[in-house]
Amino acid sequence: MEELYKEINERFSKFLLKLEEKDCPVITVKREGFLDFIEFLKDFGFKHLIDLCGVDYLNYKPEKKEERFEVVYHLYNFEKRALIRVKVPIPESDCWQYSLTFLWETSNWFERECWDMFGIKFKGHPDLRRLLMPEDWEGFPLRKDYPLYLEEDKEWKGYKELKRKTKGEHS
């Protein structure tokens, strides 16, 4: 891992925001240099993309986070048996991130889910549409300002229609 830190500090010092050692190395990079950085990591041996997810830091700002969203990547190196976490802060006003579909096919659905749940757009994604929620759903459910229970008039229209139909049959 020493080599990795050295290379990162040498080549990506411009884009590097933070390098910490928690339960695994945690690297926070700027969105601008992200694509080069992740390509470098893949060539370095981090071939297995375990996970890609979004996090919404709306009211909770640990370590003086400035941006609202964060996209978190977990990568694994088979040869060195090393796990690494890469974080990219995403501002709310300019809510997009680069897609990784050209490097990993598995990131396709992860990114679709992230768009579905947080409304973070992925630039360069071939087929960005909703995955788990219905296609005509409004809002992004995993955002912190999205309520757990929706008010009755804000319910999904498919569900409203279903309720209307069943009521009509029984009355």
């Binding site: 071939k47 996970d51 640990p62 096919e105 788990l132 929620m133 757990l148």
Partner: protein, 410 residues
């Protein structure tokens, strides 16, 4: 782009020539899609040109729900993910939370967790073999597997009172210790089970129909499998010996011996062989753990600082010294129940790598809980795997990936 069934049929009706691509809708109610998986298929004759899986029919919003429940209540939700092997899910959740809390699990609890984890693996693989064989057309295997799975579920019932949604593992250890009756029953099971595996293998190992339906179907190279994010027996069938139990040992896996079986060609038959070998390895692991249980007899099964079932929102800091008469004195200062921070834990669930990433803000509820489930990734690989194969092979592909839709949709 949305394609409903009405649009598909109207497209077919309006097309002038018969050479137009033929769309067919498979699922969500289809017996061999193992739940509510819907596949929109574009066909040329009977060959699949493109396949578009539609998921979300079983979406319960576990990640959102978890943000509104405390840590111990969240473990109960994990049962409902992969309901075939719920003990394995419990372990994944608890490992992540323990990392966050900084708890050290007692050795006996670790052994017990390993045993239930491997029991979950056996019962999951048995259900996989049963339904996979049934999809392809072998009815007898189904009955044999369910007979033995019933035995395991009965043992589970003795352990914790539930057959399917156990919640046996809790943050800091396990709920209850094993009784002598359970240990005897498990010894009997591990003694008998290798003979049962032989029974299944005599039924289908060299069966001509089985071989024709599985050999050279859905071949994945090692590189492709890693790129697609496949894990578990599917990845090992392609020859990559990646097993979280060996690479990042958790619980008691560092002190037991076992092998990681791998395949060569990466086809459906190889994945079948890998899982059959895994059954034997799991059986062996249970056996070793049972022997070790005798050494730790009478030791606690729950860590000392384990949180109560109902975690309070904030606690008041106790004085360092207890008061001689009044018990503990609580000062006014409120402190966090859970250390703020983040933790990541992953386990080798029967279906692949199950990873949990948790962010805590110090309250009794997780700020964010992310679950990476193997079935989700495996279903995302179906379009790539099924391209160029027949519809009948698609059934074999869904079977060999071993997906559970509760696991996929969360």
């Amino acid at each position: 782009m949305s394609t409903t069934l009405i649009e598909i049929t109207s497209k077919q009706r309006n097309s002038n020539s018969w050479e137009e691509p033929f769309f067919i809708n498979m699922g969500p109610q289809h017996p061999s899609t193992h739940g509510v998986l819907r596949l929109v298929l574009e066909l040329e004759g009977e060959t699949i040109v493109h396949c578009d899986p539609r998921i979300g029919y079983l979406h319960r919003g576990v990640e959102k729900l978890a943000e509104n429940l405390n840590y111990n209540q969240t473990v109960v939700l994990s049962d409902r993910l992969d309901y075939i092997a719920s003990a394995a899910n419990n372990v994944a959740f608890c490992l992540a939370f323990e990392k966050l809390f900084g708890l050290e699990v007692p050795r006996r609890a670790k052994l017990l967790r390993t045993i239930v984890g491997e029991m979950a693996r056996i019962s999951s693989h048995l259900l996989w073999l049963a339904t996979h064989a049934l999809d392809i057309g072998a009815m007898t295997v189904f009955l044999y597997c369910f007979r033995d799975r019933e035995w395991l579920l009965n043992i589970f019932e003795k352990i914790c009172g539930a057959r399917l949604t156990h919640s046996y593992v809790r943050v800091g250890g396990v709920r209850l210790d094993f009784t002598q009756e359970i240990i005897d029953e498990l010894y009997k099971f591990t003694e008998e089970f290798p003979n049962r595996i032989l029974e299944y293998e005599t039924l289908i190992d060299v069966n001509r129909i089985w071989l024709k339906r599985t050999i050279d179907i859905a071949v994945v190279t090692a590189e492709k499998a890693i790129n697609l994010g496949l894990t578990g027996p599917v990845l090992r069938g392609s020859g990559v010996p990646y097993d979280v139990r060996k690479f990042r040992p958790y619980d008691a896996y560092s002190e037991v011996e076992f092998e990681v079986p791998v395949g060569e060609r990466g086809d459906t038959y190889d994945r079948y062989k890998v899982r059959m070998k895994e059954l034997r390895q799991s059986n062996w692991i249970i056996r070793q753990c049972l022997d070790k249980l005798a050494e730790t007899k009478g030791e606690p099964v729950l860590a000392e600082g384990a949180p109560d079932l109902l975690i309070p929102e904030k606690i008041k800091e106790p004085e360092p010294k207890p008061h001689p008469k009044k018990g503990f004195i609580f000062t006014g200062k409120e402190v966090d129940v859970v250390p703020p921070g983040e933790a990541f834990a992953s386990i080798e669930s029967p279906k692949g790598e199950l990873a949990v990433y948790v962010v805590s803000d110090g309250s009794n509820k997780p700020w964010r809980l992310r679950i990476r489930t193997p079935s989700f990734v495996h279903i995302s690989a179906i379009p790539e795997l099924s391209r160029g194969y027949m519809i009948a092979d698609l059934i074999a592909i869904i079977g060999t990936l071993d997906v559970v839709l509760g696991d996929c949709d969360r």
